[in-house]
């Protein structure tokens, strides 16, 4: 719907409803300036007025109105069409949606007397938007092409946003974000055996990003997935914490629902309202879930004995080949990890439970939490939730399970029918929890992901802690966070669309705030905040300098090979020893196949991969030259990524953006730095093509900082070249720019 249609629609609604309660009059601001408008509603400190001249509804901080009008608006009844006028049309364009966000930001800034930052330059834009969407800096060609276009085409920025959102870089960058949030690792088994590879889960996340699966469906899939990881990658979410269901739940509530209940795992939450009992009631939704096959599913001892005797009869000495028997054990072990639900719920209060509402060992029935605004009585909230469709399914379960409990008290040996009913219910608990979590009406689900995506773009979330949105009225801009949550629902959890809107806002396209932000002080988004590159952005930017945009095509995909090689069906009574040994052999061969993929050198960088299958992946001094998303998860200790703060993938959002002495040593003297100053790297070959030293310096600046050098910088460069000679001088300039704060901070 275009703006004109909006206006007609608004006028139509106005005419239709004006006769009832709506007040259209001349309002005055605190400086006496008049504004003819219709009162729409008041929400917190914000008054919504529909301007008669434009038909647009705008938020106005109440303090900005004249004293009389402040008193007046508090007595007015909201317009009957208030909600329709303050939300966007279902099919609003990204530009319209972005404008709405800018309005709310502007209102927040006005309310607190903060001035918006100036709009950013095209040079700043191209660098930031590449880093934010594609996860790397633009290369020389991409930079110059955009700067040329932006000079004449006003839509160049919106076009670049669209192009990048459709690129492979978007998938890689989004994967990195979620891998850090979800603590994704190459080995997913939490039990210590490290037998199951995370590969299928990793690939599954990338596939969802590539297909742009709506966030609600993706989370539903992770929470409700069944089976082995190579048959259903989404099971990786629960297998990641196999054997640690309580930790998993604490993390689930934190990342998907923005509520921090980790404390309540061991005791009542000291600051919030959560009790330990509530935590266990939530845990009960996973109380029937198991991540391992057990003795009832297959006879491990018998299978191992058969394999051992087959090996011995083939002349293999088992005591001398402990490695082989170990691999048989590992294969069987890996195949014993599968997510499924059993008929009985094992959730009980822990042995050290010390509150009055239960005893250690008491069985616990599943029950959902409610967010209680501090000013509301519990019963009001519960009444609200009765009408909240997100709670509907679970409410039935709560009723049913209470009935089952009652029956079992009266009759300790329930009938087959009763226990069958209870069993069926238990087997469905996880899907019910998933449905509640991801429901558009869940009080926090949409808001949590909207707040996270906002933080990705702006460098700061709307709440002091991005993992806690328990009280949206504590947010820096409460109307904005509520609006973003509604927007997330309006775009049906389409993350790409949501990000498109955010990147198209003026707020995003302003300069970064230059002042130091005081700890804990509210921030009103006068622009994004300055932030250091993530480890992945830094590494992928290095790769861009060395390999160009070819890095987006290099993949180390072996997920199907892994699944095919490792899978055996332990519950099949016909599984024989020979099959097991064939699989062990297949698993051993994966490593060799993988190693054969590497071997290209720096000099091939920048070439178009003709046949990707036969192309070797380049290495430099033992480093695999690929995007961070294609390397080990996380990268091994000592790797550039880890020194630069890549998450160990133990804690949610565990990446670190601060410096350290070892990190600086690496930036100054490490292998990655040597690679950039190597003559075969793409940037150096690009330089070699240029005729004059000035042009060469320009290429270096445009490649590394994505801007032209200033006259002063050209002078410094000239002096360096005359002092050290052209070859050494240019290398010194590259070295110096890579080590600047300007390189590693995103403006």
């Amino acid at each position: 719907m275009n703006a004109k249609k909006h206006l007609f629609f608004a006028l139509f609604v106005m005419c239709a409803t004006a006769a009832f309660a709506d007040v259209t009059r001349v309002f005055h601001d605190s400086q006496g300036r008049p504004l003819e408008a219709t009162f729409i509603k008041i929400e917190g400190d914000m008054v919504y007025l529909q301007v008669v001249a434009t038909g647009q509804t705008v938020p106005v901080p109440i303090a900005r109105l004249s004293v009389e009008d402040q008193t007046l608006v508090k007595t007015l009844v909201p317009a009957t069409n208030a909600n329709a006028l303050t939300s966007l049309a279902t099919n609003a364009s990204a530009a319209e949606a972005a404008a709405k966000i800018d309005q709310l930001v502007a209102a927040g800034l006005a309310q607190h007397g903060v001035k918006a930052n100036p709009l950013m330059s095209d040079e700043q834009f191209v660098r930031r938007v590449f880093l934010d969407i594609a996860g790397r800096i633009p290369n020389y060609d991409e930079t110059t092409a955009f700067l040329k276009k932006a000079g004449s085409d006003r839509t160049a920025r919106a076009q670049l946003i669209d192009e990048l959102l459709a690129s492979e870089g978007y998938v890689s960058n989004m994967y990195n974000y979620f891998a850090e949030m979800l603590r994704v690792k190459d080995r997913v088994d939490g039990g210590g055996g490290n037998l199951v590879r995370g590969l299928p889960y990793i690939q599954w996340i990338k596939d969802q990003m590539s297909k742009n699966t709506p966030w609600d469906r993706m989370v539903y899939a992770m929470l409700s997935a069944d089976g082995k990881i190579w048959n259903n990658g989404a099971t990786g979410y629960l297998l990641r914490d196999a054997g640690m269901p309580l930790d998993n739940l604490a993390n689930t509530l934190s990342v998907f629902l923005g509520t921090d209940v980790a404390c309540a795992q061991c005791h009542d939450h000291p600051f919030a309202n959560w009790t330990q009992r509530q935590f266990y009631e939530m845990a009960a939704f996973f109380g029937s879930t198991t991540t391992r096959l057990n003795g009832r599913d297959y006879d491990r001892r018998k299978l191992t004995a058969e394999v051992n005797s087959l090996m011995e009869s083939s002349g293999i000495n088992l005591t001398e080949n402990r490695n082989l028997t170990q691999q048989v054990n590992n294969l069987i072990g890996a195949n014993s990890y599968a997510v499924r639900d059993l008929p009985e719920n094992r959730t009980k209060l822990p042995p050290d439970y010390r509150y009055k509402d239960g005893k250690a060992g008491d069985p616990i029935l599943p029950k959902l939490i409610h967010w209680v605004p501090p000013d509301k009585q519990l019963k009001d909230v519960l009444r609200d939730d009765e009408h909240n469709p997100a709670y509907k399914l679970a409410a039935e379960v709560e009723k049913k399970s209470a009935a089952v409990k009652k029956t079992s008290k009266i009759n300790p040996s329930p009938t087959t029918k009763q226990s069958k009913a209870a069993g069926e219910m238990n087997e469905n608990l996880r899907s019910i929890f998933a449905a509640w979590t991801t429901h558009p009406s869940n009080p926090r689900f949409a808001m949590t992901i909207a707040n996270r995506m906002w933080a990705r773009a702006m460098g700061l979330s709307l709440t002091a802690n991005k993992s806690v949105v328990d009280n949206p009225d504590d947010a820096y801009n409460p109307p904005l966070i509520k609006h973003l949550a509604k927007e997330m629902v309006r775009v049906k959890f389409n993350l790409k669309e949501f990000l498109r809107i955010v990147y198209n806002t003026q707020t995003y396209q302003r300069e970064s705030t230059t002042d130091a932000l005081a700890m804990g002080e509210p921030y009103y988004f006068q622009g994004p905040v300055l932030r250091r590159m993530t480890a992945e952005q830094a590494w992928d930017s290095y790769m861009t300098l060395v390999l160009g945009n070819q890095i987006d095509k290099i993949k180390s995909n072996e997920v199907d090979l892994y699944g095919r090689s490792v899978d055996i069906d332990l519950s099949n009574p016909k599984l024989d020893a020979k099959t097991v040994l064939l699989k062990v052999d297949a698993v051993q061969k994966i490593g060799a196949k993988q190693r054969a993929k590497f071997g290209g050198g720096l000099s091939m960088a920048g070439q178009e991969p003709g046949e990707t299958d036969s192309m070797k992946i380049a290495t430099f001094d033992g480093m695999k030259l690929m995007r961070a998303s294609e390397l080990e998860q996380p990268a091994p200790a000592g790797h550039f990524l880890r020194e630069f703060g890549q998450s160990e993938r133990i804690l949610i959002d565990g990446g670190v953006k601060s410096g350290s002495v070892p990190q600086v040593l690496m930036m100054m003297n490490g292998r990655a730095q040597q690679m950039l100053t190597n003559h075969d790297s793409l940037i150096n070959r690009e330089i070699a093509r240029q005729a004059t030293p000035e042009k060469k310096v320009e290429v270096i600046f445009l490649s590394i900082l994505n801007r032209l050098p200033t006259a002063r910088e050209q002078d410094i460069a000239k002096k360096t070249i005359s002092d050290q000679g052209e070859s050494d001088g240019l290398v010194a300039i590259i070295w110096a720019l890579i080590n600047t704060r300007e390189f590693c901070f995103v403006q």
Binding site: A272, N465, R532, A637, V656, M668, I716
Partner: protein
């Protein structure tokens, strides 16, 4: 919820703390909050506090207690007979060098832990806490830096030799130990590929190109980075860097340690401590002796024996033993029963740790196990007590709760009790 600090998300808090920690030279702001959350209940007066530095010898894989510090005579004895040590107690037959300096260390024979898994055992023996999916606990070097500040102007306050990685737990990364992969390689990336003159020119070029950006963005993060560059330059250009190199060690000392990797790690640890590093961990692997304990002890056991004894002698010669605590630990002991492969398996129920120097008695044995080494029979010591003892030896306020960025209280050694009998 009135404390705005608690509302920040952990990443912001980490970054904030880093900035402040750096301006306060390593004394992090957490201490101010700690005081609000509970006064410290000190260790009994006069106990501990003498260890200015600590060398933690960590035996990765699970050190067999019966073949080392708690020898037995019956069925569980193993291949070698016990030997008599100076100082009055007996040691496993492989500990010939340690026997000669028996009057300079004490043994705790009554350790008992709850986990028989390597990862979890290693974690608890370093942090005092069981691993959790929602937090990473700090190790002792980071705790010490939190309470006491930096131990040296340019050198790091803690170093780990022989382990791939190290982190600061929930403290800012500036408090993380610096990892050294091998004693001969020294500090990673400490050597420039160009000569010193060219290197300095590059640095000043960097500063010139970056001046406009730094002028415009005066955020704490940018400043902190610039300080790290300055600090790194100070380290690279100071003679303190020599502390990481074994090339300057005199030949008599080199002979004392010999050529083993672990021994050389101990030699580097001694050098680092002498130069002002507060906490050094040296790791030795090879203790997971599921098969052939006798052969494995001939290698790993002998290497440990040589390095440990040399370290005691070396520190004594340098006059540093009184101010340096050497402590040896492992994730668990090994089964008294010898299995069909001549090996011993994981055994957390009873095992030993060793303490030397830093105000610790010599020739003392704390606690005991039964005749087979199966059960602790006297003065049981938990992992938490072990960590608390090291903390107390360094004079850390072990009872003082520190709030993590997620707002949860933690102490050095999770409320363990320091073993006061160990202190002289």
């Amino acid at each position: 919820m009135s404390n705005p600090f608690l509302k920040l998300d952990p990443a912001s808090r980490r970054e904030f703390m880093l900035g402040t920690a750096r301006t306060a030279l390593g004394v992090s702001v957490l201490s101010h909050f700690d005081r609000a959350f509970g006064a410290s209940a000190p260790v009994p007066s006069g106990v501990g506090g003498k260890a200015k530095s600590v060398i933690y010898l960590y035996m990765a894989g699970g050190m067999t207690h019966i073949d080392t510090w708690d020898p037995k005579t019956g069925d569980t004895k193993g291949a070698k007979d016990a030997i008599k040590a100076k100082g009055g107690f007996e040691l496993g037959g492989y500990m010939t060098e340690m026997a000669k300096v028996g009057d300079k260390f004490s043994i705790v024979r009554s350790m008992s832990s709850k986990t028989g898994v390597h990862e979890a055992g290693t974690y608890v023996m370093h942090t005092g806490y069981d691993p959790r999916g929602t937090i990473v606990h700090p190790t002792l070097g980071s705790w010490a830096q939190h309470f006491l500040g930096r131990s040296h102007k340019t050198l790091p306050s803690s170093v780990v030799i022989g382990a791939g990685e190290a982190n600061a737990g929930f403290f800012p990364p500036a408090l993380a130990p610096v990892p050294i992969s091998s004693p001969d390689a020294g500090l990673q990336n400490a050597h420039s590929t160009v000569d010193e003159d060219t290197f300095k020119k590059r640095i000043s070029l960097m500063n010139e190109f970056d001046s406009a950006f730094r002028e415009k963005f005066k955020s704490g993060d940018v400043k902190a980075y610039t300080e790290f560059y300055d600090e790194t330059m100070n380290l690279l250009t100071s003679s303190d860097l020599q502390a990481f190199s074994l090339s300057g060690v005199d030949s008599a000392t080199k002979d004392l340690y010999g050529t083993g990797g672990f021994s050389r790690g101990c030699m580097l640890a001694s050098r680092l401590v002498q130069s002002g590093v507060r906490f050094v961990e040296v790791r030795l692997g090879g203790w997971d002796m599921h098969a052939g304990v006798d052969q494995a002890m001939g290698r790993t056991g002998a290497e440990m024996d040589k390095g440990f004894a040399a370290l005691i002698t070396d520190l004594k010669n340098k006059g540093l033993l009184d101010s340096t605590l050497i402590v040896m630990g492992s994730e668990f002991g090994r089964t008294p029963r010898i299995n069909e492969n001549g090996g011993r398996d994981h055994y957390p129920k009873a095992y030993s740790t060793v303490f030397a120097g830093g105000g610790i008695k010599g020739g003392y044995v704390h606690g005991s196990t039964d005749k087979d080494g199966k059960e602790v029979t006297d003065k049981q010591v938990t992992v938490q007590d072990f960590i608390a003892t090291v903390g107390a030896a360094m004079g850390l306020p072990i009872a003082q709760a520190v709030m993590s960025p997620s707002g949860r209280p933690f102490t050095v050694g999770d409320k363990g009790k320091a073993i006061t009998e160990l202190f002289a």
